[in-house]
Amino acid sequence: MSAPSLSQALAAHGVEARVEARGALAVITVPNGVAERLRDAALRRAVVDLAAKHGFTTVALEMASATDERAALSGH
């Protein structure tokens, strides 16, 4: 399992993401706006498949509150 290699694979697939490995669980964090793209089932499947190819049995998208997103936009 390699978080950096999964991150690179996701980027190659058009999904910019930071990947944190917690055992066989990959937690991915994406910039504002990218999360909404993951509403698409085909893209989710692709992410899950890429994670599996990199040894992760499970992949989860870290979620942000409205406050987090406002803070990110204002640079705090």
């Binding site: 917690r22 055992g23 899950v48 049995t57 998208l61 942000a64």
Partner: protein, 300 residues
């Protein structure tokens, strides 16, 4: 009673055959099993059921009550921190609605360090406690048979609790007579049981990865988070998996597009954080039964 057609029967039926005859056939299969269940129960002098209020034990309670009557039947709810309050409320409401005789007992698996350590056979220690308590109730009150709601589908799962049931001579008539989950749901619907469409509801400890200690605080975090998500409108399958500071939320895969919309993401995040988790993540594959079994307990 309305016709019963099981999902399994639908799957097995030829694709072009959705005739009433096919439905009648499936109905008779499920109902024949129910007749055999009634006969199985009727020859017991008295029966105690481990009752959680879930799909299987609710159905079994109603059939047992019909088969042997309230003087020879008792449904026993084992209460502990791993049993959600919402499920307890639902179990009691169901018992009241259907005149099911109920006894509530406390179980103390949290005092057993082997259970608290959360090994892969954790359920064995929990069920050992439950069946020991029910055996004592049975002996004290003169009941001769103890049963549970295990069904035929459960035999394919990893169920270390089964060993405890065997050691305490607990019978599983639904499994013994070949009832599938789909058949139990269909027969429950035909009986007007509100549990027919209820999602499966394993105990709260199942949300903690093996090796991550079971504590009351962790169970309460999970319970609060799932309750808050239900309040937001998430129905169907739902699990909040406890990964230490991070909650991994699993919902039905076909609902992910709806719940990944930004306003709902914000609502989920706020609700789960309020329950005591610093971080919240949505599982991108969606709900999977036993998904923690495939993740090492790192970070727990």
């Amino acid at each position: 009673m309305e016709p019963v057609l099981t999902e399994a029967a639908r799957a097995e039926a030829p694709a072009t055959d959705d005739s009433p005859r096919a439905a009648d056939s499936a109905t008779s299969t499920a109902r024949e099993k129910e007749r055999r269940l009634i006969a199985w129960l009727a020859v017991r002098s008295s029966v105690i059921l481990g009752f959680s209020g879930g799909v299987d034990s609710a159905y079994l309670a109603c059939v047992a009550l019909e088969a042997i009557g309230p003087s020879r039947f008792l449904a026993v709810i084992g209460r502990s921190p791993s049993y959600p309050d919402a499920q307890w409320d639902a179990a009691r409401a169901l018992a009241a609605k259907f005149d099911i005789p109920v006894l509530e007992v406390r179980t103390h698996e949290m005092l057993d360090p082997r259970y608290v350590a959360n090994p892969s056979n954790r359920c064995y220690f929990c069920k050992t406690e439950l069946w020991s308590v029910l055996r004592a109730v049975a002996d004290e009150r003169g009941f001769d048979t103890i049963i549970d709601g295990t069904n035929a589908d459960d035999a394919t799962d990893w169920r270390p609790g089964r060993q405890a049931a065997d050691e305490h001579a607990v019978s599983s008539p639904l499994a013994e007579l070949g009832f599938t989950k789909d058949e139990i749901r269909a027969l429950s619907k035909a009986r007007g049981l509100p549990t027919w469409s209820q999602p499966s509801s394993p105990c709260l400890s199942s949300r903690l990865p093996y090796g991550s200690a079971v504590t009351i605080e962790r169970l309460r975090q999970v319970e609060r988070a799932e309750s808050a998500l239900r309040a937001l409108g998430i129905d169907g399958d739902l699990r909040v998996r406890h990964h230490g500071d991070l909650a991994r939320v699993e919902i039905s895969a076909d609902r992910l597009d709806e719940w990944l919309a930004p306003p709902r993401v914000h609502a989920i995040t706020a609700a789960v954080r309020e329950a005591g988790f610093a971080r919240v993540a949505m599982d991108l594959r969606g709900f999977r039964s036993g998904s923690l079994n495939v993740i090492a307990p790192a970070g727990a």
